[in-house]
């Protein structure tokens, strides 16, 4: 009698149970990469965008540079950076930060430019300095737009982190590669669904954060 071909389901709970430690490790790696990359990107991008807002001549070059960086594929970037850094985690992190930069810079700048001129005029009329206007009037008003940028950046970072597999540090991407190597579908599908779930959860958390940070916008 012919032996039955081994089952190769797309979803398998027993796979998840038997490999929970490996899956959790990959998920943890993926999450920490994403969160750290977006955090660094925000810390770099918001001051840059604020600076470009104060000195409009800097806006063109800033958007141009981040745009060029964004055009370079992640695989190419990892390939150039890894041999120089020789550290998997920092290479992937650097790449992810660079890609998140553009989205946050652009949205922050759009938000700052979109602040109602009457509001900034009122601040000036109250005798606010330029810096004080920026910190207490413009940036809070631009917050929704900044947050949109951060959400976009977070979701794309979750997806992009998988490319880290090219240097063996791709979080959930590692599971996909292993599943590909052995032709085991459940591993690939589990990793894919976890990616989507991670993006969804982080997006939700950021939405909640946005609501908490902008109490004035809630009633609308």
């Amino acid at each position: 009698m012919e032996p039955e071909p081994p089952a190769n389901p797309w979803l398998s709970w027993s796979y998840v149970q038997d490999n929970s430690s490996e899956i959790l490790r990959a998920l943890g790696q993926h999450t920490s990469l994403t969160v750290l990359a977006v955090l660094i990107a925000v810390l770099v991008a918001v001051p840059l965008a604020a600076l470009a807002h104060l000195r409009p001549r800097l806006a063109g070059p800033l958007l141009g540079t981040t745009g060029v960086l964004y055009t370079i594929p992640s695989l190419a970037l990892f390939a150039v950076v890894y041999p120089l850094l020789r550290d998997r985690r920092s290479t992937v992190l650097l790449g992810l930060v660079l890609y998140a930069l553009l989205l946050v810079v652009r949205n922050t700048l759009v938000g700052l430019r979109g602040v109602d001129p009457d509001v900034t005029d009122a601040a000036r009329g109250l005798g606010y300095s330029r810096a004080r206007t920026l910190f207490t009037v413009e940036l809070p008003n631009a917050l929704p737009s900044v947050l949109t940028g951060v959400r976009l950046a977070t979701v794309s970072t979750v997806a992009l982190a998988t490319v880290g597999v090219v240097i063996g540090y791709g979080g959930l991407g590692q599971l996909m590669v292993r599943g590909l190597g052995s032709g085991y579908r459940a591993q690939i599908m589990t990793a894919t669904l976890l990616c989507l779930a991670l993006a969804l959860v982080l997006d939700l958390l950021l939405t909640l954060l946005g609501r908490a940070l902008t109490p004035w916008a809630r009633g609308r």
Binding site: V68, T71, I72, P73, S74, L75, A76, L77, F78, A79, V80, Y82, P83, L84, L152, V155, S156, V158, A159, L160, A161, T162, V163, V165, V166, I167, G170, G173, M176, V177, G179, L180, G183, R185, I188, M189, A191, T192, C195, L196, A199, L200, D203
Partner: protein, 236 residues
């Protein structure tokens, strides 16, 4: 720094360019795959976008259809942002699609689709209703209005969509090398396999240059196909 000089040496070796499976072969393959993927996506997205935009277009008379495609397109774009291309690639590779170039082209096309669709839709839909009514009033047939009024006016946005899609696809194709396919990504992946980091850097540079070149060429092309009176108009 040894790796950087190794990269320079590798790039300056004519053999690496001209041999079978060398840089030139890989570049041609890369661009062919890009073209096929963009064409595949455009084949679906262009007619669909024109139809949806045309259907929902504002007219000074008549009603709009109740179901609007805009939110659906936005949703598709958002989901496609969260789904890793690499995940789709590995899923395809373990199904009947097989390993290599085919799953990559297919995945790249799927991710390019919403980009082209959203821009085409917005372009056709955004044609001012007055212009459309004027064309109708001149006695143009529906088809004529579409081809000689709506499409030319939508062209800048459509071209922008195709350009964005092409640049995105050319940047996605390197992933083919991870599932046993071709394209310039193979230079990088082979280099990692052999631990020849000079070759890895060289491959990275080649891919980056190809993407930036394509972006530049397409930016010029987009300007050329935009009707002169519309050139000053900013598109996203």
């Amino acid at each position: 720094m040894d790796d950087v000089s190794a990269a320079v040496v590798w790039l300056n070796d004519p053999w690496n360019w001209t041999r079978g499976g060398g840089i030139l072969d890989r570049t041609v393959e890369h661009l062919t795959m890009t073209l096929v993927a963009v064409l595949l996506a455009a084949l679906v997205a262009l007619p669909l976008g024109v139809w949806l935009g045309h259907r929902e277009q504002g007219s000074t008379t008549g009603r709009r259809p109740r179901i609007q495609a805009g939110p659906a397109a936005v949703l598709a774009a958002n989901v496609s942002r969260a789904l890793p291309t690499f995940a789709l690639l590995t899923i395809f590779a373990t199904t009947g699609v097989g390993f290599g170039n085919r799953p990559t082209v297919l995945a790249a096309a799927i991710f390019a689709l919403p980009v082209i669709l959203a821009n085409t839709y917005a372009g056709v839909r955004g044609v001012p209703p007055d212009v459309r009514d004027a064309a109708r009033g001149m006695g143009m047939s529906g088809l004529r209005v579409l081809t000689s009024v709506e499409l030319p006016l939508a062209l800048p946005l459509v071209a922008a969509g195709l350009r964005t899609a092409a640049v995105q696809v050319v940047a996605t194709i390197p992933l083919a090398a991870l599932v046993g396919g071709g394209g310039l990504g193979t230079v990088v992946v082979q280099g990692f396999g052999l631990q020849r980091y000079g070759q890895v850097i060289a491959g990275g540079i080649l891919i980056a240059v190809l993407c930036l070149l394509l972006e530049g060429v397409l930016a010029v092309a987009q300007r050329v196909v935009t009707p002169r009176p519309l050139r000053g108009v900013r598109v996203a």
